[in-house]
């Protein structure tokens, strides 16, 4: 055992103490309150279960974004990415979206992915804004490196904020060169893009203590069906099912 632990210590990156993201509540266009809070490593299995049905959804690049997020969540759970964090949006305890990223150094953040499960309510925009808020206001970084892997992401981040090109820097996701959100741009965009109230009232906070899933069909319907007819995807029988593990 001692040997295994020694080896694990070599495989596991050193961790930095990162302040927690204080939960907040956002009233959505539907009038529903969405609680945004940090997710723990113990909650990763249920997050994996939530995005597993999306790994084969080509529409709006859900497949690649979900697959990458899947691996990043595993890396978070198993301590294979340094200083990673995960935020979730929960509507009445039901998962509406996930965002993640990591701290590169005290001055620089690295945004990873944004996956929206409940679509049509700007949940993705709210959660992306929450992670920018975390980087700039709570981790105290000066800038966040960002890329988009879908046209929707490009519109939401690069155009809406707007971000600046930082093409001399290769983003960790390995694709196009980076764009950057500076502290100045963040605070200029904050009044129109960063929403939410703190503290979260106790009953709402309690409703968000346990992450519940909308169910595989509901996930697929919310991602595909409400936006129009659902195209044929890989039949469930051909897909591996994620097993729920660990505590919550």
């Amino acid at each position: 055992m001692g040997h295994a632990s020694d080896l694990e210590a070599l495989l596991r990156p050193p961790a930095r103490e990162m302040p927690l993201y204080p939960p907040k509540v956002i009233t959505l266009a539907s009038g529903e309150p969405m609680v945004v809070r940090q997710a723990t490593r113990e909650e990763v299995p249920i997050l994996l279960e939530a995005i597993a049905p999306l790994l084969w959804v080509e529409r709006d690049y859900y497949d690649i974004v979900s697959a990458r997020l899947f691996s990043e969540l595993l890396a978070y759970r198993r301590y294979r990415v340094r200083d990673e964090y995960v935020l979730v949006g929960l509507i009445d305890g039901v998962l509406a979206g996930i965002v993640n990223g990591r701290e590169v150094d005290p001055k620089t953040g690295m945004s990873y992915h944004t996956v929206t499960i409940r679509r049509g309510l700007r949940v993705g925009s709210h959660l992306f804004a929450a992670k920018m808020e975390y980087h700039i206001e709570y981790l105290g970084e000066d800038e966040v490196l960002i890329v988009a892997e879908s046209p929707i992401g490009f519109r939401r981040w690069m155009i809406e904020y707007p971000l600046e090109k930082r093409y001399d820097v290769q983003h960790e996701l390995g694709g196009v060169p980076s764009w950057v959100l500076s502290r100045e741009t963040y605070f200029a965009a904050k009044p129109r893009l960063v929403a939410g109230r703190r503290p979260v009232p106790d009953p709402l906070l309690r409703s968000a203590e346990t992450i519940r899933l909308p169910g595989e069909e509901a996930v697929r319907r919310q991602v595909l069906g409400e936006k129009g007819e659902a195209p044929a995807a890989v039949p469930p029988a051909k897909r591996p099912r994620a097993k729920r593990g660990g505590g919550r």
Partner: protein, 394 residues
């Protein structure tokens, strides 16, 4: 003129479709033909309404393609393009064919696949209906025209953002009861207007219009089977009669109108439709208006004669246009939430009215009524078709 009845109605679910353009049109057409149950009665002609297939889908001559897909040779076939009013214009062409005696049965199908291109391209495509020399080249889009219109209308008549928000909330709620609607998402006044987060939830698109004041970009198809009155009666089922159709035009460039917020073409088209039907706005039980932007539902309801100028806002506030109100407007969810595949919209408005008048609209059924009205708004109000439908037992 021979009377014309609508004996079949159907539509596809609006939204984003993976189905090919002509297949989409065929699905709606087959639904309408099944609904009509014509037996041995042949279809004499097909009229297809479409605005953008040549540009968006690289396909032309849609009516010929649809005849072939449905094996309806040797039916006559033609495609009608009249911007966002293509649907009602196509119905008008079908009605004229039957009324004149040139045809007994006409299939009218509207179809559009706008999601084949990006939102930017779709916005540019729709903007191409504006005046090329004094509007389009300066970057005018339909949302920007609607924003300018809304600003002046609100100033003139005391309309407030909450009135527009109420229309959006109403139409989203109606669409929740419509399985064919593009958007199945309830919204609230708090979420889009009064909560601190509303500024993020509902960002400005073309001030004073915000995200939830604008219709989505949709794919979809809708279809009607028109038949001469004597054939409709012979089929032996209740049917809906095309009681009146009116069309009117206005200047291409909005700024050339003596009053930019006076929807002259809506008023004249409506007057002509009511005159042909021998009815008045007060006779109407249910209406489908062209709410590509919330302000247009308000303005059209006044121009069509349902409310005096400036009174539609308070009427919305009193719930008069809700499903259970005095005059339900856009029970389908309207363009705002049912969706707006431009070539299909005018036909889909009439499909909804047929279902309402036949009492087949399910959860969104309005109270028992016999008269329906639709306004299909082409261009930015420069080519409008109004239609009055009447249940035949009235």
């Amino acid at each position: 003129m021979r009377p014309v009845g609508i004996v079949g109605a159907a539509m596809t679910k609006f939204g984003r479709s993976e189905t090919a353009l002509v297949d989409l049109a065929a699905l709606a057409s087959l639904g309408a033909l099944r609904d009509a149950d014509l037996g041995e009665v042949p279809v004499d002609a097909i009229v297809v309404a479409n605005m953008g297939a040549a540009r968006l889908n690289r396909q032309t001559a849609l009516a010929s393609a649809l005849v072939d897909r449905l094996c309806l040779y040797p039916a006559a076939a033609e495609t009608v393009e009249n911007g966002p009013a293509s649907g009602a214009s196509a119905v008008k062409v079908g009605v004229q064919a039957i009324a004149s005696g040139m045809a007994d049965v006409v299939l009218v199908t509207g179809v559009e696949k706008m999601r084949a291109v990006s939102n930017l391209e779709a916005t540019d495509f729709v903007a191409s209906l504006s005046h090329p020399d004094v509007e389009y080249i300066y970057g005018v889009t339909l949302p920007s025209l609607a924003g300018l219109f809304a600003r002046l209308y609100m100033e003139r008549y005391g309309v407030e953002r909450r009135h527009l928000a109420m229309i959006a909330v109403k139409n989203h709620a109606n669409a929740m009861k419509n399985p064919f609607a593009h958007i199945h998402q309830p919204i609230t006044i708090e979420g889009i207007l009064t909560a601190p987060e509303a500024v993020v939830n509902n960002p400005p698109i073309a001030s004073p219009l915000h995200l939830f004041d604008c219709c989505p970009v949709s794919d979809g198809a809708a279809s009607l089977v028109l038949a001469a009155g004597e054939i409709a009666e012979r089929l032996g089922r209740p049917f809906v009669r095309v009681a009146g159709i009116g069309q009117a035009t206005d200047t291409h460039a909005v700024h050339e109108r003596s009053d930019p917020v006076d929807l002259v073409a809506v008023r004249r088209a409506s007057e002509r439709a009511f005159s042909m039907a021998g009815l008045t706005p007060g006779d109407v039980d249910v209406a489908e208006l062209h709410d590509a932007f919330t302000i247009l539902e308000l303005a059209e309801s006044e121009a069509a004669g349902f409310f005096p100028p400036g009174e539609a806002g308070p009427a919305v506030e009193r719930g008069e246009t809700s499903l259970t109100g005095r005059l339900p407007i856009n029970p389908s969810g309207g363009l705002k939430a049912k969706g707006h595949p431009v070539g299909a919209t005018g036909v889909a408005q009439l499909v909804e009215l047929v279902w309402q008048l036949r009492g087949e609209a399910g959860e969104r059924q309005v109270r028992d009524g016999g008269i329906g009205f639709a306004c299909n708004f082409g261009g930015f109000g420069n080519n409008v078709v109004a239609t009055v439908l009447r249940r035949e037992d009235r």
